[in-house]
Amino acid sequence: MAIRAARWVDDQLGLANLARRDFLRKVFPDHWSFMLGETALYSFIILVVSGTYLAFFFQPGGSQTIVYDGSYGPLQGVAMSQAYASTLNISFDVEAGLFVRQVHHWAALIFMAAITAHLARVFFTGAFRHPRQLNWLVGVSLLVAGLFSGFTGYSVVDDLLSGTGLAIGYSVVLSVPFVGPWLAFIIFGGPIASPGIIPRLTAIHIMILPAVITALILLHLAIMWRQKHTNYPGPGRTEHTIVGIPLWPTYAFKAVGFFFIVFGVIAALGAFVQINPIWLFGPYDPAAVSAWSQPDWYVGWLEGALRVFPPFEPQIFGVTIPSPFIPGALLGLIMLAGLYLYPFLEARATNDHEVHHVLDRPSEHPVRTAIGIAGIVLLLVLLVSGSDDVLAVMLGTHIELVKLVLGVLLLVLPAAAGVVTFLICRRLKKRAATAASVGREP
């Protein structure tokens, strides 16, 4: 039966030759770090499946027209939007709804974490070099799309926490030079707390971004397929060969097995670890705010920058540079531009335009590794700055002191970490060179 069906398809498309050669025997390198990108891919599949389920119940309305009468007692009789009420309904009145909601949120966090880790792996091993600069651009675009996907996703719920995040997002868009007011109104449909934002965010979150991410992933994989994987240095691995296990059957079983393991871990988190308990935050009210508001981690570094940046809002010739502009809009754009352009900057700086299929060890490139570590430390300090209020309470000190110390750390720590990394790498590189020359002697 299956053979008959396969024959019928091949009669019409003639795929057998192609599949035998390029598909079934495709070589996949066998190294754990190649699973980071796979984790991101599998999390995305889980996001699409769980998100579709949630979309069957979610109602994207932002006006406070509902008086809640569902089964969560503490909020009964409270006025709220359709978006928030339907999310409460998913959480309390849809069988297994809360489980799917938590799976969706955990999958989003793991998706972003996996993309970030995969990006770090590609960066520190120099996998982005020619001929993979094009795919680096696609990959960074996936990171950006994922970031917006996460932010819009937890914002559509219209709870108090996400509403606060939207107000801040509005102020950052408003701070864009001169077109800010138009841009902010085109996106948000009106000034801060416009109820029109919820259906727009929903359309962006459930239609536009999933389509963009799907297209980018397909492009990412197609380019990877065409170019073949990179290889870590080792026996038989040269710029003209690739070493690994074939797709069929070993790699296929491992990959599908790994998909189930990722799904299982996310399902366990969704079942047992509470995430985003929106019923505790209450519905959005433009005149209310909860203390200790923290966004999800992938947005947290921008929040940190907004918190520790000094009160700087100069007026020049009647033009105001809004205080959120530099830490909120410019910093993000500069970091993003740096990320997009890094492969080209490095190629120009080292004058290396050769084809590279064999990866570097991080210690072989002290400057690159130092830049990467400095960037990671910068992001970590910013992320910690996003919780400066919690930090001040924990340490029992004044918030101003915490802000000052974090500001100094932001200027000093990344550079210091970069220099230390550089020195360590140079040492390791020298030692490896010595060992190699000694080892070669008879």
Binding site: V27, A96, L98, F99, P131, T164, A167, I168, Y170, S171, V172, L174, S175, F178, G180, W182, F185, P191, I192, R226, Q227, T241, V243, G244, I245, P246, P249, T250, F253, K254, G257, F259, F260, I261, V262, G264, A267, A268, F272, P286, V289, S290, A291, W292, R307, V308, P310, P311, F312, E313, G318, V319, T320, P322, S323, P324, G328, D389, I399, E400
Partner: protein, 291 residues
């Protein structure tokens, strides 16, 4: 090169067969189905589903590791870039086809014009996404004589506001409007040190400031009565209530706009006028001047 021996550590579980993991996965999945239909606790359903998925993944990977060929194979990489001949042939073919276009200059130009017109059409549609922001950002619902009402819509007399208390208020008829939200705070009148041109803006020690933070638009929700400081919980900007809500700490650089207050004929608190400075976060071409 046909490959090399791939040395593996012997693992304890290789002595078992992966069939147990796959069977366990199926049993857990059936148990999860039962939990669902019996209306069991959501954690039981989720936990059994997770267990099933983990066992299934483990079983498949285990099978691959236990009973499938695991020798490393080496494949050649072909050159990615096309050969110069291929490139030349492509260029020639493209140019041959292109001649048909370049001969018809007027037609080509009209196609480009058409694309531009469609672009303009699409951009025009974007306009309907937003009202003109400048006609909304330049005012709030506060105007001369607008009564100060609570979130419940009740008007207030000065005697209703206790010393060191803080109330969120709106103009009558506009309760809940984000850009009109205002904080009403009463302090001992002799403590107030308002700028000289605002001496008449307070009534019996009652001052009113915009609740929208001038930094990033969060509601300035915390009041420390002993020090007379307003604190924004989002980024910890701090404003001095006694001195016209000037920022004294945190990232905000502008004072919270002050609403001039007075009392109407019936003794209720009303606004003298709308805010005279920009409410909420700044933008590049916002009106400046005023205090």
């Amino acid at each position: 090169m046909s490959g090399e021996p791939h040395h593996r550590r012997r693992r304890l579980w290789r002595a078992f067969e992966p069939v147990w993991a796959l069977l366990g996965a199926a049993i857990s999945a059936v148990a999860a189905v039962a939990a669902f239909w019996l209306g069991a606790d959501i954690q039981l359903f989720g936990g059994l589903s997770a267990l099933s998925l983990l066992l299934a993944g483990l079983g498949l990977a285990w099978w691959a590791d236990w009973g499938m060929p695991d020798e490393l194979v080496t494949e050649p990489r072909e050159e990615l870039a096309s050969t110069p001949q291929d490139r030349a042939e492509f260029a020639a073919t493209f140019a041959r086809g292109g001649q048909a276009i370049s001969r018809r200059r007027v037609l080509a130009a009209s196609v480009i014009t058409l694309i531009g017109a469609y672009f303009a059409l699409a951009v025009s549609m974007v306009r309907s996404l937003a009202p003109n922001p400048y006609s909304i950002l330049d005012h709030t619902a506060w105007k001369s004589g607008a009564r100060v009402v609570t979130t419940g819509g009740d008007p207030l007399k000065p005697a209703d506001v206790r010393i060191d208390s803080v109330l969120t208020v709106f103009p009558d008829g506009h309760v809940g409007e984000a850009d009109a939200q205002t904080l009403l705070i009463r302090v001992r009148p002799d403590l107030l040190q308002l700028p000289s041109d605002r001496q008449s803006w307070a009534t019996d020690g009652i001052v009113a400031y915009s609740k929208v933070c001038t930094h990033a638009g969060c509601p300035v929700g915390l009041y420390q009565a002993e020090q007379h400081l307003l604190l924004c919980p989002c980024h910890e900007s701090t404003f001095d209530v006694l001195r016209g809500a000037q920022p004294i700490a945190g990232p905000a650089a502008r004072a919270l706009p002050q609403l001039p207050l007075t009392v109407d004929g019936e003794g209720f608190l009303v606004a003298q006028a709308d805010y005279s400075t920009q409410v909420g976060p700044s933008f590049w071409d916002m009106p400046t001047g005023g205090s």
